[in-house]
Subunit: 444 residues, 4 copies
């Protein structure tokens, strides 16, 4: 494999350094071999001319769900057995958009692992996957605390069969256990499951206000994660759940600005900023806010949305270490007619569309006054550091040669992130036109 | 193909004639070529010794649904595209039990037709199928007037997609039309659909008490059926709906003893008996009655069940021309955990199990005082005559050589119908052990 | 009691005669004693000066429900025992608005009868009431075919107790009976109930598309009504149900333009026009149509609304004998937050508000090109004739002195019907400020 | 008021002392003035002969709900305004059964306080009431976390109006607050509400597995209660919730043996026993266990019931300081037909019937091997001590003269507690025949 140079563009290396105009990046054997002024480009490399364009690291998304559309239509019809095809399709949708690494924070573990490993081994094309499997303590997509309606209306054996793909031994039954029981189950899960990081339920899922696991149990989970060399994160959706998670030792915050119908207490905010705890904020654009359904759930959704936006602004202003995330996945055409899933797909600039919503995130970041360079770091270096994945996130010699060439300046225009000219992963140019190779949900 | 003789058994030919002891039936080229005393058996035939057994015509079931288990689990998981596999499996379950001809009175038409034609052409093994497609005026399995719950909870496009397999242009929208509009739609349906007989909704389906189609519309449907040379039948579940159907000119009565929570008016009963209108009665055994859930639907189910049993007894006593039917189909293991379908699967000797429930029907017939020969005729000749299928139903020279060899005397013991030794269809011995060839719902 | 003369206004007598300018109407002993030019006014009468105003007959509403808001909040909290207070309040709300006579076409019979009789006897103030009690064949407000949700969620005994106030022996159980059984029950009901006219269910209620009673049963009901000297009417909501009702001999049509999602067949329309069958049309204003919830019930509501409006226009154009009706009643403040009732209260110019919606009706009539005089007749003479109540509806000597004085010309401006200056019932001026005397639902 | 002596019976004074045979208890001015052998009875007292009977202290119930039947039928029909009548009726039902003091641990505060004060002032007859008002953090009877179905189906304003009777400023909104916010709300509640003790939600209510309030919030509540001189208790329904409550400083345990589908961890059990933390155990009889609906909630109810019974037995064996409680209230006849409430009323020896279920509790205690004297203490002294009410619970000079005379020996036969001959409260004999004075729910 010959070395390839991307030459003539403005290079933003994801470290926060000044842009390098008329620069060049050389990829060799999957790694970044050289970066510098185009004028100093070493010989003997194949040249790809990217003059007039911008080169950034391959993007990371700190929170995706490669299986997200959990309608019966999808989980029974398109995935009667297991979910490999859906996952691969989603990983390709992400890659096509320039997201070269994704962190799947809740999904069907066995299939995720299989696809993850196939991609890592070069046997399949797609965004690089790191996965947590289940949110420890949660009961699967059709459990009463998720989309409970299906649990009530489909056959019990079907619901059980589907949920088991997610729970893998660390499901809702853990919420009944004393902390030491939780510890044991999690230890066993970590040892046997092949997960890349740990995520657990500080809050109940559908019943956002409640704590799913006690502080003792949360502490035990963090300790077990750390003992195994993994990072730990929590799903927290109320002020107290967030605080308990922080005190339990999580390494990064998911839903870090979700505190339900109230704003984040100042003390918690200061804690996040002082510790520079990496924090996912699902930033929403002004258009998003303007099209939020004010009647949904008796006005609760709007109230929560506004509280979250206020938190987001405060975190930005206070200099918190934020991370881009979309909570995104792939929905089939028709999902908007689903009585439950459809509600998530109403309005403009919605969050959960893998391959699209990250651009809305950048737009929202700009609108909310985040510095353009900070926005880029939030989508690259910050996430890599938070997850302790040391070979992605920046364009530095020795790191993986994941990069995106944009038709536009992402420091000037957030929509530039959506004008992808070239995606390179592990040094190879991605044939974006072919993706996804076998459309399932994205099929016409 | 050599002629084959089934020799030495007691032959009950389905005409009501006296049993022929030590008889023989010769099948040649798919037809009955000869019947007579074994002692007079012609030469040059292959002999199958059935001494000590009873030979009856292949059974007919006047009302089956080869797709009946309409859970999302089945219709999305096992039949993501179309239903051919489910239908073929069900046709083989029937055949294995000695039911050589079935009348599918509500099902997904295109798939039914395909499987029907493959079986008729000898390309597939299974019970001979005659089908009506939709119950004209009904809206498909997930319509509000069927299992409406699914219609409310699954995506609208999914519900619509599934329902359309059944409705085929003569769905619930017909209940809005004036009679002439119904007539036109039905004429077009008959002309283009390839159905074998016409069934329509005199009563609404879930809302049993209401009339779905007006008398004028019902008359128009019957006229169109007859003009096309087809028989017409109605689904009627209240006294007035039954009466309207009879007056509209139906050729046979489905649910002929279902009059809801009240007993059949005497006038209607007399009409049925005088005209010798072939009439399906879903006879229930004493065990069935004893295990009916007395609390279901606020006691309504029990009330209806008792009224039906009273009707059944009155029809038998009055000498009505009854037909065996099970309303049966194949359910997957696990269907009993379905919150809706499960209710149909509670109790003993339940009606809807294709391949089993016909034996309960015979048992109930005996318990209710029907003559054993009448019971046999109800499952053979009466059905063939009612549906005007003139080459099945009896063992007579020239008719199709469909026969069942029983280990027991069905005139003495109703359970003998369940002790099937040999099934012959179109003159060929069925390899019952192989059926169903590709288990889907019946898979372990 | 001295005779009182209303002098100087323009008199529209409800017969269709030319307006009498500067006229006078004399009421004496509750009846109209004299009508003529003010200049010829007899001596010895008390004079009320209505110069510059318009005098019309007291209005009639051909279809009201004095108990309409059937939330548990109302039926349990405000009417723990019976409904007299609610009914009287509603009758006073109507009277205050100039509606001097109402026809309650579905309500709790015993209470209706008591209030009707108290008003008739002069023991209470309110619009004159004629009532039908139950819609024969329907099962009460919380029956599965009405607001079935309550039937499923409240205690069975409570639901039964409430429904019985409506059903009074002619409830949903009639839909199970043969026609002769229906006839007997209705005969007994008419004989014992003290109703003023008969209404029955041609269509099911919530399940609009289905027939609740067979043509034979409908004919039997009409015959029994006529034999007892009562008019008969049907609730019909589909083309066939409407046609069956007409053929069964109803004297007037309720919901005469409701044919569901399809337009009225031309043949039916011609029948209505040729026979001059009095026909209720719930006319809707342009504003009403513009604010109909297009998403409700998957778009079904809108489709039905548009079909109805098309029917209304065709009936007007064809010269049908229409009647004003609102289907109206009184709702408590807060009813709009009810998940079920609330849907009826969305949008502008809604139909069901007693005391208000009749003005919208006139507005809609004008918008749809009905002649102003025809509109007035629709609210006066036509209804009296249809119900065969011969002493109301017009201002003619000998008739009841029910009149309304309007601040505006109702032939020029439909909103004039809402500018009520004086209401006179049975010759006496109504003290409108005092009404309703004991606010229950209308309480602040 | 002359002193009255109850003479000749066996006195069990509730201190655990040996039975005093042929004893006498003298009540004077509402207090116990003298206890001793009948032979030493002072002069000048009125004598009530209770020879052959047993005299015990008036019983206490550590957990009742004087408004428990929260059907719309009750809360809207029988209590359209407020709940005083229901509460008084329930207090009289309790008193009639010999329960002279009740602790209402969740109810509509204002009405409870009014009735409590009227009874305390001698203006009304009934069991002495101590009340907590709301379970802090819970949202009222029709909140989503209680009987959420009503919240979804009744008008929002009605639901809100009813719930507010319970929440009184410390409702579900507290679960969104940080601990300090909870502390402030609780301080204000204690200061202004007139409650007798504090109860809060350690667990969510319907969603038993989740924590409603964080440990920090729970600690804040206990501190505020103690600062105000009140006892604190928690509703805990999972092992972790129970442990958190204990560690937060509660003074007694409600639902002390409810740990959901798992048994109580041994460490927690030891903590309870060592600290002699007073602990409510809803003991269930063998008959109760045998008639628990094994299918309810997918078998969950049975699983929880069995775990609870195992906990109960372990607590008894280990010598925990148990308290009798019934969670009881009064249900109207007909409540068993309620689709939600009805489920609590199935089976034998059910817990929640005020005036009856305490006898089942004693029966269960005997069956589970609790010593008869311990059982008596659990219903008398233990509760008084736990709640720090120092003038009830035992028959000692100076304490309130609350006593029950039984036709049978409660140390030999638990059913003796149900054979009440005389009830004395504050020294006066209760006219049991007159109770309840104004039957509402208990009306025939």
């Amino acid at each position: 494999m010959t070395a390839t140079a991307f030459v003539g563009g403005t290079v933003l290396d994801g470290t926060g350094a000044e842009p390098l105009r008329d620069g060049a990046v050389v990829a060799d054997d999957g790694r970044v071999a050289w970066i510098g002024p185009a004028s100093e480009l070493p010989d003997g490399v194949a040249v790809v001319d990217v003059a007039g364009k911008h080169v950034i690291p391959g993007l990371l998304d700190a929170n995706v769900h490669l299986v997200l559309d959990c309608e019966p239509e999808v989980l029974l019809r398109y995935a009667p057995g297991d979910y490999d095809e859906l996952i691969l399709e989603a990983a390709q949708v992400a890659l096509r958009a320039g997201i070269t690494t994704v962190f799947d924070t809740w999904g069907p573990l066995e299939a995720l692992r299989r696809v993850r490993d196939r991609i890592a081994a070069g046997q399949a094309v797609g965004a690089r996957i790191f996965c947590a499997g289940n949110i420890i303590g949660n009961g699967g997509p059709w459990h009463a605390d998720f989309i409970g309606t299906y649990g009530e209306l489909l056959s019990a054996d079907t619901v059980e069969r589907v949920n088991r793909h997610w729970t893998v031994g660390v499901g809702d039954e853990l919420t009944w256990l004393p902390a030491e029981g939780v510890r044991e189950a999690v230890r066993e899960y970590i040892a046997s499951s092949g997960i890349d990081f740990v995520k657990y339920a500080s809050s109940a899922h559908a019943h956002l206000r409640f704590l799913a696991l006690s502080p003792d149990a949360q502490r035990a989970i963090c300790e077990e994660a750390h003992a195994a060399g993994l990072t730990a994160q929590a799903c927290a959706t109320s002020p107290e759940a967030l605080k308990v998670a922080i005190e339990s030792g999580v390494d990064l915050l998911q839903h870090g600005s979700d505190t339900g119908i109230v704003e984040m207490p100042q003390g918690t905010l200061e804690l996040i900023v002082e510790r520079q705890l990496p924090c996912v904020a699902f930033l929403m654009t002004d258009r998003r806010l303007a099209t939020t359904n004010a009647d949904y759930a008796g006005g609760l959704l709007l109230k929560m949305t506004l509280a979250k936006d206020a938190n987001d602004r405060r975190l930005i202003d206070a200099g918190a270490k934020l991370m881009l995330a979309t909570d995104g996945g792939v929905f089939r055409a028709g999902a908007e007619t689903n009585p439950i899933v459809g509600a998530r797909l109403e309005g403009d600039d919605i969050e959960v569309l893998l391959g699209k919503s990250h651009v809305y995130w950048f737009r929202a970041a700009f609108e909310r006054g985040m510095g353009p360079m900070d926005a880029l770091l939030a989508a690259t270096r910050n996430i890599a550091e938070a997850y302790r994945v040391d070979d992605v996130g920046t364009l530095e010699v020795g790191k993986r040669a994941d990069l995106v060439v944009l038709d536009g300046d992402p420091l000037a225009d957030p929509d530039a992130y959506g004008r992808v000219a070239v995606v390179v992963k592990d040094g190879a140019i991605v044939d974006r036109e072919r993706l996804p190779e076998r459309p399932v949900l994205t099929a016409a």
